[in-house]
Structure formats: structure tokens, C-alpha cells
């Protein structure tokens, strides 16, 4: 936990193998989430805070832990 990076991405992706005998069109890129709690370690004091009203809506007081989620495959939906 001591060596956690200062910056990190919250989404990772990879392209799964697609063979000639696979029946469906390839999904292309496959995504997975790596939220902030994997990187931050024991929370340091004096981190920036949301306003109380904003925090109640966002589900956390701390911007460092906020992670908005959206369906990563939405564009492909036909």
C-alpha cells in the first residue's frame, strides 16, 4: 500500500481473442473497472472534500473516491 501510484485510471480494457469459429460478432474491447479504493491505501488526513449537499448526492465526501459509472458498451447498442 505504501507504493501506490499518485495517478491512476479507473477503467482498463483489453481485446479478447476472437477466432474464426466464434459464432457472434466480436465485442471488440472488453472493459473492467479499477475504482480508487484499489489505489489510495489508508486515507491520508486533510484531503479535499465535496460540500455536504454535494457529498450526500454523490455518495462520498471525498473527490478522490468518487467514480461515476456508465455502461461502456452503450455506443454499440442498436
Amino acid at each position: 500500500m505504501e507504493n501506490h501510484p499518485k495517478t491512476f485510471t479507473k477503467v482498463k480494457s483489453y481485446v479478447p481473442f476472437h477466432g474464426p469459429c466464434d459464432p457472434c460478432p466480436p465485442i471488440g474491447r472488453k472493459y473492467y473497472r479499477t475504482p480508487p479504493n484499489l489505489y489510495v491505501g489508508f486515507q491520508q488526513p486533510s484531503l479535499p472534500q465535496f460540500s455536504p449537499a454535494e457529498a450526500l448526492m454523490k455518495g462520498t465526501l471525498w473527490p478522490v473516491f468518487y467514480d461515476f459509472y456508465e455502461n461502456p458498451y452503450k455506443k454499440r447498442r442498436v
Binding site: 500500500m1 473497472r33 480508487p36 479504493n37 486515507q43 450526500l56 462520498t60 473516491f65 459509472y69 458498451y73
Partner: protein, 189 residues
């Protein structure tokens, strides 16, 4: 002892009549990684965990019941005005036969809740690691429900619940760090 506030932790608004979403949401109601399993797991494990982290399990276990209440509200709103035909179309025909539109603790596939979903091993690290895993699994379940849902208002509430899973996981990870700390060693923050 608990006190009850007659309001939801976060507003629940459902903008589309889509009973199929209620079926999906039941995974978080009576499923293996659902809110009921979480609440019962933490509130039970806390008796045999070092004092320093009992309060954390109490707080998070209590909050899980507030989440359970939100999920219940979503399911209720999505099914309360549905006819038997609509419920059958939504894949809830079997549910209707046994329960009418009453809520029941089963998962999205209709499997009833069981205590076998949760564990209390008595080993603090084993228990906290299970709790971390449970939070990540619940976070993933919320993601997959959001992926399946077209309801922007429902997704807003689900995003709040997903964020809480991240925070709970963070706090359980910190609890592990507290228990790893060498006893009686001077530490400065």
C-alpha cells in the same frame, strides 16, 4: 438498539414502467452478494472481531439495511401496478404464483436467500477479506444492472449505491491495515 428515520438514504425515483428491472434488482435484494447478505454478514461478524473495527462493522452493516430499503422501494415501485400478464412477460410469472406482487428474498433467478451465502470464520483477516470481496461483487452487480437499465432516474440511485460499495471496500481495506499494525508501536500520522 437502532433508531429509525422514516426516509430513504437517497431518493428513489423510477421513471419507466419496466417490471423486468425489478427482476434484475432482486439480485441485490435476496442474492448472494445483495444488501441483505451484506447486512447480516457484517452485523454478525462484529461480535468476534478486534475492538478497533467493531464500530466499522456496525456502521456499515446498518447502512446496508438502508440500502436494502432503497432496493425494496425500487422493486415495489416497478411491480405494484403490474398486471399478472405484465409480470409474466417480465419473467416474474413464477414469482407471482408464489407471492403475488409481494417482495421476497430471492435472487434474480428466483433462488431463495440462504445463510450459506455468508460466513463468519472468526479469523479477523479472513472475515475482512470476505467483506472486501463482497463489496467488490456488489459493486460489479450494480454495474451490470446499470448496463441492463435504460431508466436514468433509477440509474442515478444505483450509481449512489455503487459509490457506497467503493467507500465500504475502502474502509474494510483500512480495517485490515489497522489489524496488521504492530501492536504498541508508536505511530505518527
Amino acid at each position: 438498539m437502532w433508531t429509525y428515520e422514516k426516509k430513504l438514504q437517497y431518493p428513489v425515483k423510477v421513471s419507466t414502467c419496466n417490471p423486468t428491472l425489478a427482476k434484475f434488482l432482486m439480485e441485490q435484494y435476496g442474492g448472494a452478494d445483495g444488501e441483505l447478505a451484506a447486512a447480516l454478514r457484517y452485523l454478525n461478524q462484529r461480535y468476534t472481531i478486534p475492538e478497533k473495527v467493531i464500530g466499522l462493522l456496525t456502521d456499515i452493516g446498518t447502512e446496508e439495511f438502508a440500502h436494502l430499503e432503497m432496493i425494496a422501494t425500487m422493486i415495489y415501485k416497478l411491480t405494484k401496478d403490474a398486471t399478472p400478464d405484465q409480470l409474466r412477460e417480465a419473467g416474474l410469472g413464477e414469482h407471482y404464483v408464489a407471492h403475488d406482487s409481494a417482495l421476497f428474498y430471492s435472487n434474480a433467478a428466483g433462488v431463495p436467500f440462504t445463510a450459506a451465502y455468508i460466513q463468519a470464520k472468526g479469523d479477523p483477516i479472513a472475515d475482512l477479506y470476505e467483506d472486501i470481496a463482497a463489496e467488490e461483487k456488489a459493486r460489479a452487480t450494480y454495474q451490470w444492472i446499470i448496463d441492463m437499465s435504460d431508466d436514468p432516474d433509477l440509474n442515478d440511485s444505483l450509481r449512489f449505491l455503487r459509490e457506497r460499495e467503493i467507500i465500504h471496500s475502502q474502509r474494510f481495506r483500512e480495517a485490515v491495515e489497522i489489524l496488521k499494525e504492530e501492536r504498541d508501536r508508536k505511530k505518527v500520522f
